[in-house]
Each structure stands twice: as C-alpha cells, then as structure tokens.
Symmetry: none
Subunit: 208 residues, 4 copies
DNA sequence: GATGAATGAGTCTTCATTCAT
DNA sequence: AATGAATGAAGACTCATTCAT
C-alpha cells in the first residue's frame, strides 16, 4: 500500500476549516434573512457565529463575499433540482417528471426558511455583484421555463402562449407558493402543495 | 353667514405644504427604487427633491416615515383598483370584470416603474413597521383573492382548490408578470398581457 | 452707493467656515507632527480640534486630504519666499539677496515647529499622492537651486561644480539647519543662523 | 582537558538561529523601505521572509523590535566608518583622511538602498523608542562633527564657526547627497561624489 | 522550534437626525 | 418655514499579537 499522500493532520485541518466556514455561512444566512443585506451587520454575524471580528475576515473577504457565497451555494443546490423534462417516447409522463423535480426543489427550499427568505427578498439591491448574480440566476430559471414551454407547444402538449411572459408568471407563481409555505406555520405536505401548484399551472382554476 | 373658518391664506399654505410633501415623496420613491431602503440616503432624497436637510424633517419624521407614507399611498391606489367580482345574475361576465380590474391595476403599477420596484423588492426588511405594513397589504390582497376563489368554487364557476395556497400562487403570478413588464424595455400592450395572465390563471398552459 | 452684492451673513458664514477649516488644519498639523502621517488618527485630530467626528468630514474628504491641504498650504508659503537671485548689473549684491530670501524662509519655517516637523519627516510614504506632491516640491526646489548654480558658474561668480549634486547637498544643508533650529530649545537669532549658513555654503569651513 | 562547554550542535543551532534572524531582518528592511514604519505590516515581512507568523515573534518581540534591531545594526556599521581625523604632525593630510572615511561611509550606505531609505525617512516617528535611538545616533554623529570642527578651528585649519550649527548643516549636507545618490538611477562613482561633497564643505561654491 | 488560526482593539468613514439661525 | 452646520453612533475592515497544536 502506498503512503497516504495527504497527511492526516491536513485532512483534519481542512475539514476544521470547512466547518468554521459553514458555521459562519449559517450565521450569515440567518442574519441576512432577518435583516436583509444592508441591514445585516458583520457584528450580528460574528455574534451569531460566536467568533471574533477578525476570524470572519479569515474566511470571507467581505460582507458581500459571504452573501455571494451563500447565493452561489443555494443556486448550485437549486440547479441540481431543476431537471429538463424528458419528452422522448418511452419517458415517464411529463407531469410526473415535473412533479418530482418541483417537489424536490420545494422540499429543499422550504426546509431552509432563512435561505428562502434571502432568496425571495434579495432583489433588494445587495450592492452590485451579488444582486446581479441573483438576477442572473432568476433569468436563467426563466429561460429554462421558457424553453420548456416552447418545446411543449411544439409537440402539441401545451397550448400556444407567449413564452417569456408565461415563464415570468410561472416563476412568480412558484415564488408565491414558496413564500406561502415559508410564512405559514402550519405546513401542508410538500407533495400536496406541489400537486396543487402543478394543477394550477397546467389547467388553471376554471371548472370544466 | 358665518366667517369662513378657514382663511384663504391657510388654504394656499396647506396646498403649498402638500406640494412640498409630494415633491419629497416623489424624490424618495425614485431613490428607494434605485438603491433599496437601506441603500437610500436622506442625502440622495433631499438632493433629488432640491430641499435643505432640515426641511425634510419638517415633512417627515424619519426615513422610515417617508417609506411608510410611500407604501400607504401606493396601497390606497391599489386598493381602489381591486374590485370584487360581481357574480349576481345580471352582471357582466366574470372574466370581463376580472380583465378590467386587473388591466387597470397593471396599467397603474407598470406605468410607475419606480413604485413597482419599491413594491416588488421591499420585502427586504425596511425596518420593522414598514415591512409589516407591506406584508399586511399583501396578506389583505391574498385574502381578497382567496375569498373570491371560494365564492367561485361555491357557485361552480371554479374547480375546487386550496384557497389560501392558490391565492398565494396567483399573487405571485401577478408579481411575476409585473416584474416582467417593468424589467423588459420592450413593452407589450397591457391588455394583451392581462389577457395572457388571465388565461394562464383560468385554464393553465395545457392544451385541451 | 450700490447695494453690497454679497450679503453680510454670507460673508460671516464664509469666514466662519474658513475659521473652522483652519482650526482643523492646525489640529491636524500638530497631530501629524507628533505621530507622522500613518500614526496620526482622525480621533486624535478631532479631539485636538474639539469637533465631532462627522464635522471633520464636512471639511475634508479624508485623512489624506487634510495632509495634502497642509502640504499645499506650506508649499505655497515657501514658494513665495524662494526668490530668484537678480544678477543684473544694477541689482543688490547677490549675497544680500540670498540672505534676505533665506532669512525670510527660515523665519517662516522655524516659527512653525509642527509644520517644520511635518515637512522634514514626511518623506515617510504618506500614502501615494501626498508623498509624491512633497517629493515634487523638493525636486522643484532642487531644480531652482541647480539653475541658480549654473547661472552663477556662467557669470563667473561661482566655481564650476556638478549642479544636481550640489543642489541636493545644499537643500540637505538647509534642512539640516532647519532641523537644528527646530530641535534646539535655545534659538539663535535667525539672521545669525542665515549668515552662518550662507557663509558655509559660499566659502566652506576651511581657513584661508 | 575539559569537555568543550559549547557542544557542536549548539553552535550549529546558534548559527541557524542567526541565519533565520538575518533572513527576517533583511525582509523587514525591504518592507520598511517600501512602506515606512507604520505602513509596513508583519504580514508583508513574514511573506518576504517566507516564515510563519508565529516564527517572527520567536525572533523579535514586536514590530518595533525589528525596526530597532535594524537601526542598531546600521548604526554599528556606520560607527565603524566614522573615523576621527588624526591631526598629529606625521599623519596624512586631513583632507585625505576625511575623503577615505567619508568615501567608505557613502559606499556602504549607497550600496544598501533599502537601508538608506529607512535611515533617511525614519524620523517619521516609528513609535517612541526607535525614533529616539535614531535621533540619538544622529546627535552622536553631529557631536563628532562638532568636536572635529572645534579641533580644526583650534589648530587654525578651519575658520571660526558655530560648531553645533555647522555640524547640523554638514550632516544635512551628507544626507542630501546620500538621498541624491539613492534616488538617481544613474550613479556617479562614489569617489567623485565624495570629492565634490568635501570640496563643497571645505571651500563652498564661491569662485576665488 | 515552527506553525497559522484566532483574537479584538483600533482605523477610517458614513449617515440619520438635531437645532441654532 | 427653511436652512445646513454639527453631531456621534454605528458600520466595514485591518493588523499586531497570542497560543494551542
């Protein structure tokens, strides 16, 4: 057996560092959720994380940097949960695929209330770059939805519609639902919420 | 006849005061839209309003107070445009009523981009009370929608649904559309947008 | 008599502002002299000036700005006192002209001990621009001296020498003398100091 | 014979320690020269020395301590090069002695640009004690010069002058020349510079 | 002996608010 | 009523120093 090229201490150190980072990230998430980007103070973050002022800057360059890291992490998670619908002949029913994808996404976001709060409210200009990044993320999601809509229309599954506008509306719809779930204390099972959300999007509220 | 209890000068003075107030309110609206609540500085507001620092505090108690006044004004305007659907036998088709009401609302909000920006982004905790007021407003709107949904279901116009959840979703949908209209430079006619929005809400995206 | 175009209050306000500025500038000069550029804290300056923290920034953009203003002011004063020797036929004896010019310069600088300290010690990198400005000033002085030397050599008044090097040496010589005067508590009359300085520069220390 | 009281390993260790110390001292010298005392950060020093943060404090008590050590070292070197002129009957010509002594001194200081920078600029109050030490060194030099001047006057070699003041002036003159040599990229041979400097000090700039 | 993560006092700067004129 | 100079609490960030490993 070859000698382990990465000494045990380094691994420990690395994971200790990662833990510290997580601890700060978590504290920051709560503070951002409570006070918004501008309202959040480094003071509040380090108090919550129970670290010294300087320690914060050992792990993040600036307030903006933590915020950015928070967004990036969330966006990565969310991206994993956004799956393109497979419309190939043998694939599962699109509605079922949609249900699973959305369900996973909602479960993730609703289970992390502070994160949801940050994502929902942070269009509030958190200083240039971070705002841009979030805006870019939402734009990306909208464009995924718009493309899906176009495909759906082409294969006759969906009725004709203005894809950009409809995508914006649907994203808003999901955001509204997330806000609902996060705000209300009494939580319905996510599966039911997802079903209702999908029904609303697919067939609307009108009785047949 | 008794002497007019309100002298002419006072009326003039009162209206001059009201104009000044308006001037400040408008300036504040733009600044809040550009920079968010925390990012907005009294400096920026008084520069835009072309008044002295102290004058600001002659009209508003604090930064939070202008923000609150701004929200209150907007909420009053919006409330006027939210009309309960008349489902009495002789009334116009519910869909047409809905179209007119929504159309008027969207026209109002989309034509005032800064106001829209403030309303959309201001969940970003602008210090306690103002945030609470906006939240209360949205809750009010949601409850109007929820009641309408319940009525609609009762009279068989709408299919059964979870009213709270669906109301939250629909509000989100409208917000998404407003954001779309405000963000995009190329503006579609509001009537078309409204029609699309209503179709989406009523019959969804699925082809029949 | 025409009406005074500048209202009395404005004049008062302007001079009040100027006084405030001077008050801060003086405080800053002492603090810079005591602690050097980096060592000087805004805290120390405002305490000495007996003003509030914010007031400082009403008059100066930054710490660097006060320092720059201080240097500029001093440099302006010094420039006024650096007079080119008139070597025209009817002019006063060059040595006398030199004496008057130097005497005025030394009187000015020696009477303002803190200023002298700042000027003597501030080659210690006070952040970019200010350092550059002071360096430029000294370079300017050196070049004035060098030119004078060249002229003197051409008209046969001075013996041939390397102008740049000699100018640097003479500037150092003056600085040494200033330092001497500023450091020693027992002050000789400036006229005597000036005479000695000039003798040294002109005929050296060697006995004939 | 008794066992050698200083084991070989200790010698090695001692010299290893000395090397480390030198390594840090050199790094510090460059950093102080680049950024001045206050502007210099321990960070910059340890990065340049390629050592860990804690290691620095194993060799020096504090930032001030390295600075002090730097000055002490330089002062020791300089002291070795300051030789009293021998005016005994059989001795070499005083001017030649002076030339050799000054030449050696200038060669040393000019060849170590960072050190020269530190020595020239460090009157910028590097925190109490170090500044005092440098001031003491300069005072010492001045007093050597003053004594030499007095002797020279007594033996009729020099013309009468105020020794303290002239010493201060001459020290300034040397500093001015050093600054000139260190600043200019194009370096004249030190011997020429020395000759010019000595001529200036001895016979001044006036033509006979 | 060497390391570098952690510390927290201290820095510069901003900005909502007050108040004498 | 209007002004704007003055205020000082609070903010983000730096850096010399310590100490457990």
């Amino acid at each position: 057996m070859a000698r382990n090229p990465v000494p045990v201490e380094d691994v420990r150190a690395a994971s200790a560092r990662a833990e510290r980072r997580r601890q700060i990230l978590d504290a920051a998430k709560h503070v951002f959720a409570d006070a918004g980007y501008h309202g959040a103070s480094i003071n509040a973050i380090i108090e919550r994380a129970e670290i010294a002022r300087g320690t914060f800057y050992l792990y993040f360059e600036s307030k903006e940097a933590v915020f950015g890291a928070l967004l990036d992490e969330a966006m990565t998670e969310l991206r994993h949960r956004i799956v393109r619908i497979d419309t190939a002949p043998g694939a599962r029913a699109p509605k079922d695929q949609l249900h699973d994808s959305l369900s996973s996404l909602l479960t993730f976001i609703v289970s992390d209330r502070p994160l949801a709060t940050v994502l929902l409210s942070s269009s509030a200009t958190p200083d240039a770059e971070a705002a841009a990044r979030l805006a870019a993320f939402y734009a990306e999601v909208r464009s995924v939805i718009a493309l899906s809509l176009e495909t759906g229309v082409q294969i006759g599954l969906l009725r004709p519609c203005h894809p950009q506008l409809t995508a914006a509306a649907l994203l808003g719809l999901v955001r509204g639902v997330v806000e609902h779930c996060v705000t209300r204390a009494t939580e319905q099972p996510i599966h039911d919420v997802t079903r209702e959300l999908i029904d609303l999007a697919l067939v609307g509220v009108l009785a047949r």
